[in-house]
Amino acid sequence: MLLISCVMVKGGFTVGQKHSAQKLSVQELIQKSSGKKKKKLIEKMIPIILLLIASVSVLTTFGIVGTLIVETVIFFKEVKVTEFIFGTEWFPFANTEQLFGILPLIAGTLKVTAIAVVVAVPFGIASAIFLSEYASDKSRRIIKPILEVLAGVPTIVYGFFALTFVTPLLQQFIPDLKIFNALSPGIVVGVMILPMIASLSEDAMSSVPNSIREGALAMGSTKLEVALKVVLPAALSGIMASIVLAVSRAIGETMIVSLAGGSTPKFDFNVTESIQTMTAYIVQVSSGDAGYGTTIYYSIYAVGFTLFLFTLLMNYLAHVISKKYREEY
């Protein structure tokens, strides 16, 4: 009996030695299964943590809308809503009677935006047609990065350029032009949004399938006719969306108009005199020392809220255009 058990133990021992690798892996398995709870916990926790991280962007939106609304409400306790929306005079720094009618600021913003659109849309779409329909691969490879550089130039640099180069240049042709005006920042904002229109429109045109182009070419069309009569209509929704997005960028543009636009809001259509946009007003107040809690302090939130609504509307419009009128191939 003893002998047998001894043999058995011995046998067991040898077996154990022989298969130690296997045994270890079994041990590992056991360890793993005991660690599985921890792993399962991680697998469960990770999506929750990531969701929390993702909610930061939602919180940001709520933060923006919340602060704008709260502070704007305080502003409207001191200034009538109707005076703010319909007032045609904006004199927040007046000693006797402050006037808060936002129309002059909106007029300034719209003047700059309109000039920018006049500059950017023809040049942008023409560049897009050239890049998508005419340019060889090689020239496209050179031009597109340069457009990207143009899009990446900080707006403060554009502002400096508008103030020190474009304005003096324009003054040679228009002697009446003031140092601060709407024309020069408008043109420069146009240059700033040009790459955006060009590259988004080019994307829209490139996504028009080649078979349609070839069909038109086979019917005897020239490249121009293909571009204007076939590709452009097919890509129209994308092009319109790109223009609307660019307009939204122009409305929100701050530093160019702060540096070159001036700080005298006027409710008219004159582009040669000093203006002020909504964005430039916010910058003017916050770079000066408007005391915390004054009406002027709260006015920047009311102006900011108006600006926010404008850009939101534009972005929504772009979204609707690109979704509703997209042609599917």
């Binding site: 923006i64 403060i156 964005t279 916050s286």
Partner: protein
């Protein structure tokens, strides 16, 4: 009998071809316009600014006298700012992108998050400044510090980083993920060990481009009240500071002509800063980009 008047066709065709050629030239000229503007802009800034790029320019603080004005505080300040913006925005952005690409199912909450991000991308930077002023500077009482400005900038570039990271993660083919699951890896293990390593070049490229936008952004800094003339360097995250675009803004506003040249020099420094960041991005893209 001739069915086609060959001469008339050639005549008409020639006219159309000429119109085509004229328009081709017009389109090309329009494209050149953008390049021309860029050329003039760079030429002006380099020709005006290069004379002021002396060693003293990098050693001096801001000053009211153009000859003594330097960029030291602004340059160091911008680097401090990036040290806050880079980790905060990349962690938040990549986390959100992973959630949206790997975990989010199609439901109302996730649709809302997606829509929200694309809306956030369209909000003007000056409005982000108002957010920073109210929440970080006043409510959290961080003052006009590196941290307050860094958080504001991080939120501003967050949508750009998220979209870039989403694209990079989407570009990792499904097969690789399936192979990883087949080896018994869990979802998170697959993401950490397989998906992220191959998506990282794309993520970093997008992130650096977004960060270079943050370097040049001025409006939020003005709104949260970053001072312009600072005679000390920041020593912790809560100290005051100034940044390159703020300094340039201040110089550009000054009436003396000499400050024009100083601003040009400042812009040159900013552009070199951006150039270095973009080169790093291109280097990463070319060196580590995996193609499947």
């Amino acid at each position: 009998m001739r069915y086609v008047n060959h001469e008339a066709v050639v005549k008409k065709m020639n006219k159309r071809l000429i119109v085509n050629r004229i328009f081709k030239t017009i389109f090309f000229a329009a494209t050149l316009f953008a390049l021309l503007v860029l050329g003039v802009l760079f030429y002006r800034i380099i020709s005006q600014g290069v004379g002021y790029l002396t060693p003293e320019f990098f050693q001096n603080f801001g000053s009211r006298i153009p000859e003594k004005a330097g960029i030291k505080a602004a340059l160091i300040g911008s680097i401090w700012l990036m040290c806050v913006v880079a980790p905060v925005s990349i962690i938040l952005g990549v986390g959100t992108a992973i959630y949206l690409e790997e975990y989010a199912t199609k439901n109302k909450l996730n649709d809302f998050i997606r829509m929200n991000i694309s809306n956030l991308a369209g909000v003007p930077s000056v409005v982000f400044g108002l957010l920073g002023l109210t929440i970080f500077v006043r409510a959290l009482a961080l003052g006009n510090s590196v941290l307050a400005a860094g958080f504001t900038m991080s939120l501003l570039i967050l949508p750009v980083i998220i979209v870039g990271a989403q694209e990079a993660i989407r570009a990792v083919p499904q097969d690789v993920r399936e192979a990883s699951y087949g080896m018994g890896a869990t979802k998170w293990q697959t993401i950490i060990n397989i998906v992220l390593p191959s998506a990282i070049p794309g993520i970093l490229t997008g992130a650096i481009l977004a960060l270079s936008r943050a370097v040049g952004e001025t409006a939020p800094l003005v709104v949260i009240g970053i001072p312009v003339i600072v005679h000390f360097l920041p020593d912790n995250l809560l100290s005051q500071f100034t940044a390159l675009p703020m300094q340039i803004y201040d110089w550009a506003k000054r009436p003396q002509e000499a400050f024009q040249y100083v601003s040009s020099a400042g812009i040159l420094v900013l552009m070199i800063f951006l150039l270095i960041m973009n080169s790093i991005a291109i280097f990463i893209r070319n060196k580590f980009q995996k193609r499947y």
